[in-house]
């Protein structure tokens, strides 16, 4: 079943909206109160360009929360679980943000633009509200706001060639999450080696919302010799690669997760000198050991074309031992594959589980992530 989306002012248009419409966007979702392309009408070709060529994605909905001022580093340290004291200007960091009970409420990439200026490149929750509440209540001398910054992603094995053609060979020296303030023609932007796929690539953090269509078209033109194709963050690839999606896999309101449950435990730095939100709760969670862990799942049955919503994973005698948060048919593995959570208890058979969707059941077996040819024979 397909449904229309209401394009009204309640959700924002991306600065690339007009460009994606001109290029035939067919389907949108909403992320951080902004329309984000979901596909351009040919999911197979879009997946192929990401895996074997190069894709251009409007990811402006990955909004930035800017934290600037004398207490900026202090606030950033306080609201993330990582020790950021050794982070340098030009380095990015994947930083879980937890609430006071240790539940993940976002998993942004932190960009340190200056010693007193940071961006949090956020997943889908209102971290500007969270950070500004904490800053104000702690009397910190800092400004928290959403700047005019709109990421555009170039992803896939040929992304580096396209980006080097655009900016020069220096981009090849950028480390993962490394970034640089630069410009393209006269368009100001931050160029980072990053992106929400495991196929490699860059994100162009456009700093002038009036230039969205210009930037989109410059990248498209540069990518043409490489067969660049408009696409969108790809659910199939992210499941194959085991990437976490805050929102799909967990959300405070639907499936609260702590970092130890979802393979982000090594990003909790208890030894950091400064305290951080959730530290005491996370210490207790770590000491007790998580009752469930993130895992991959192989599912029997016919191809699932549409993403599902969260489903309980049960034993053959209907005991709930896990949660399937997302699954999809993978042509690469010729199998339905999914991600979610599974109990760490050892009183059940991990090879004999099931889900029930719309009255039909599928057999489920547990595997670790990412999916590989060895694990999915």
């Amino acid at each position: 079943m397909t449904y229309q989306i209401g394009i009204g002012p309640n959700n924002r248009k991306s600065v690339y909206f007009d460009a994606t419409v001109a290029d035939g966007v067919a389907c949108f979702s909403v992320y951080n109160h902004m329309f984000i392309p979901a596909h351009f009408g040919d999911p197979d070709a879009e997946y192929d360009s990401l895996m074997n060529g190069v894709a251009i994605w409007d990811v402006a909905a990955q909004r930035q929360v800017e934290i600037v001022g004398p207490d900026a580093a202090k606030l950033v340290q306080y609201i993330t679980t990582r020790d950021i004291t050794k982070t340098k200007v030009g380095q990015g960091r994947y930083v879980p943000i937890c609430d006071h009970a240790g539940n993940l409420i976002n998993d942004p990439v932190l960009l340190m633009l200056a010693p007193d200026r940071f961006w949090l490149s956020i997943a889908d929750s209102d971290i500007a509200l969270w950070a500004s509440a904490i800053a104000a209540e702690r009397g910190m001398n800092v400004r928290v706001f959403e700047p005019d910054v709109s990421p555009l992603a170039i992803q896939g094995p040929k992304a580096e060639a396209v980006t080097a053609d655009l900016f020069g060979d220096w981009v090849k020296d950028l480390k993962y999450f490394g970034f640089k303030q630069t410009q393209l023609q006269d368009i100001p932007l931050v160029l980072a080696r990053s992106g929400w796929s495991k196929q490699g690539g860059f994100e162009l953090y456009l700093q002038d919302g009036a230039r969205g269509s210009d930037l989109w078209n410059i990248v498209k033109t540069a990518g043409a010799p490489y067969g660049i194709r408009p696409g969108a963050p790809n659910d199939l690839e992210r499941i194959e690669s085991g990437l976490v999606s805050y929102g799909a896999d967990g959300r405070l309101q639907t499936n609260p997760c702590n970092p130890f449950e979802i393979s982000l435990g090594k990003l909790v730095d208890f030894d950091a000198e400064a305290g951080f939100v959730g530290k005491a709760a996370l210490r207790k969670i770590k000491d007790e050991g998580p009752a469930r862990l993130r895992a991959g799942f192989l599912l029997s049955g016919t191809a699932e074309e549409n993403c599902a919503h969260q489903l309980d994973i049960k034993t053959s005698d209907s005991r709930v031992v896990g949660l399937l948060s997302d699954f999809i048919y993978s042509p690469r593995f010729d199998r339905n594959i999914g991600v979610g959570m599974i109990s760490t208890a050892n009183d059940y058979d991990r090879q004999d589980l099931m889900i029930v969707q719309d009255g039909a059941s599928r057999k489920v077996t547990v595997t670790d992530l990412p999916f590989t040819k060895e694990k999915v024979p």
Copy 2:
């Protein structure tokens, strides 16, 4: 132009999702990270049922933030601009929530369920994050969370008759925003006289997510003799009535507004004994007087079928003096009408303004809200 919506796990399904699909929902939007019906394929008939009959709406995306515990009343008072000390159990209150700079960040209805238990029935922003950050940082003894509560609206002039048939004649005595804990057959819910229209009606705050389809169908059956019809919060009616939409008319990230700008100044109680977030900033804003105010607009030209996005309102010599946040063709007034903000300065002609949309200009004149036959001759 119409586009598909991606129905995936990143946004939640309402507990009424299956029922709305069975009844032919055609278009969705996303609100509070949840899919919300936008229409069922016949906007004219849906508008008519709201204005002259009765409509059933899935408004589960109007999520509840529950605040419970010894410090609940203290937290609620601190995060809203109204004096709630005289609020009684069973009373609802429309309560602006501002940030520390006095910007509106939500405009929920507050329901006092018990002296130490409240719901905030929120517009589209993560108030659970906001409220829990403040509670934790202030060391308040309170729990903030999203309960299993999903409002279903019955709206329109015949809504009272349907609701009385379902619950009994006592519902006629409910005052506006008044509510009562009750049940329908064996389904637990809170019944309130409320809803996001000016046509009157009730909201059923379902308290058991497993019973969504049951409740939808019970209401539909009771409404059948009155010609009840599935619909959705109606953009045309809300513009005609001048209802504020946090998100469409203003949003912290796109068009930060304070209560004095958008006709909510009388809901800021400076005399309240306890302080509240934004009090000092709002005092300053009030003393200086707002530089712009909420207004209605009449627009020339052909009928606008789709909601627009925010557009600058300019004088004939291209000076920006306002912002049109939403507009639509009103068959009732046979005119394009809109809402937005206009400068309080008196150095321009309020009857000779313009917007430019997709290269075409429309003449704009200012009026006050709501729209009436006298104002729109």
